[in-house]
Amino acid sequence: MSVALSLQQRSPAIAVSRPGIEELFTSCVDFVWRNLYQLGVAEVDLEDQTQEVFLIAHRRYASWNGGHPRAWLYAIARRCASAYRRRGHRRYELCVYDVPENGMEPDPSERFDVNELDRALDGLEEGKRAVFILFEIEELPMREVAAAVGCPVQTAYARLYAARRELARALSEE
């Protein structure tokens, strides 16, 4: 006997102008990956969590208005990373058959540089860090940055300038 599952229902009419999840994945997978990393997801879990972001995006697709796709994905990634960090206390140890591949392209020298920036970014308050990353590294327009972090555009500018000052100071001290 078969039981009808509500899960089988597809989301209804989908606007033509909105990019599909597949398209979003193709264009934004690197963006999501980088931001999850910056949001505190461990390297070994980045693949899982990135996948999770697109699964959630798929589930919430019907409620998305189609604007600022990266800001939308960032908001999902932020919630994912937050939930991930809350679970952290239960995952200190992992039994694995094989040493997990961390999915990063191997280049020790680049890694050293990137880690230096990571350390400097870690010293920033979360709001400033998010604005700096989205504007300077991800090159989002400031309006989209503000939408992603959920603050007025002027506030985003103020955070950006503060972040720049603090980073310049931190890097010059090293």
Binding site: M1, S2, V3, L5, L7, Q8, R10, S11, I14, G20, I21, E22, E23, F25, T26, V29, D30, W33, R34, Y37, L46, E47, D48, T50, Q51, F54, L55, H58, Y61, Y97, D98, E101, G103, M104, E105, E110, D113, V114, E116, L117, A120, F135, E136, I137, E138, E139, M142, V153, Q154, Y157, A158, Y161, R164, R165, L167, A168, L171
Partner: protein, 274 residues
Amino acid sequence: MMKLDPTNLHRIDEGPPSKLQRLIRRSRRRRPSTDATSRMAARLASAGVFAAEAPTSSGGPALLDGVRAGGATLRRLAFGVGGGALALVALGAAWSAWQERPADRMSDAVVAPTTADRTGPSALGTTAAVDSAAVPQPLSTIVPVVSVDELPSTRPGLVATSSTRTEVRSSSPPAPRRSESEFAIIKRAQDAVLSSPAQALDLAEQHARAFPTGELVQEREVVAVEALARLGRKAEAKSRANALLTRYPRTPYVVRLERALGEPLSPAPSTSGR
């Protein structure tokens, strides 16, 4: 002291060279490996995530949509992103499109061997795909190459003439195909579920023997459950689905498993059924 002047805002990247600028540029290169990206794409496609956006023609089975969308994604990733290993993964799934796009084929063929060298013959079957990718490369674009063994020790007249080139090529044929790649087996199994579930089940068993700890264990089990369900072996299908859920509690395939079984799976699979 900086002023807030949004109209005159430049990114650090656009300003004068600085340490911060260099670090920012490097940090942009952080991205998942091509292998990781293709694994995610394959899983999302299999989970039906990409299917909802595909034109749902006449409400066909969701599985078919998923498979179709999966192929399309891998193809687009391969040609759009241009990732070498990704192209290799996509090769198996998108051979027909491959034939239609000679220009892309060439660029990917050039990329392929380097990536394969770096990643090695991974579970995603780079070896077999490299062989196929290398074949269409025209000889005219290959720099004349003479193997070390054939270099003259006493005869200075020997140069890399066209005949030498031909000889070199014929003496080093593409490496023999190793056993079929993990991805290829799963893809064939997925394709066979609807038309020939028994064959899909065989392929799943073949995969289980060849890749007991492979990357696509979840995908294999989903195929097996679907095949068993279509063969009317509901009890086996259900116990296998529960086993998958026990082993991978956060598997993205729950919906698909439930769809195959026609009933919900209990969240605590230790109690059989509900």
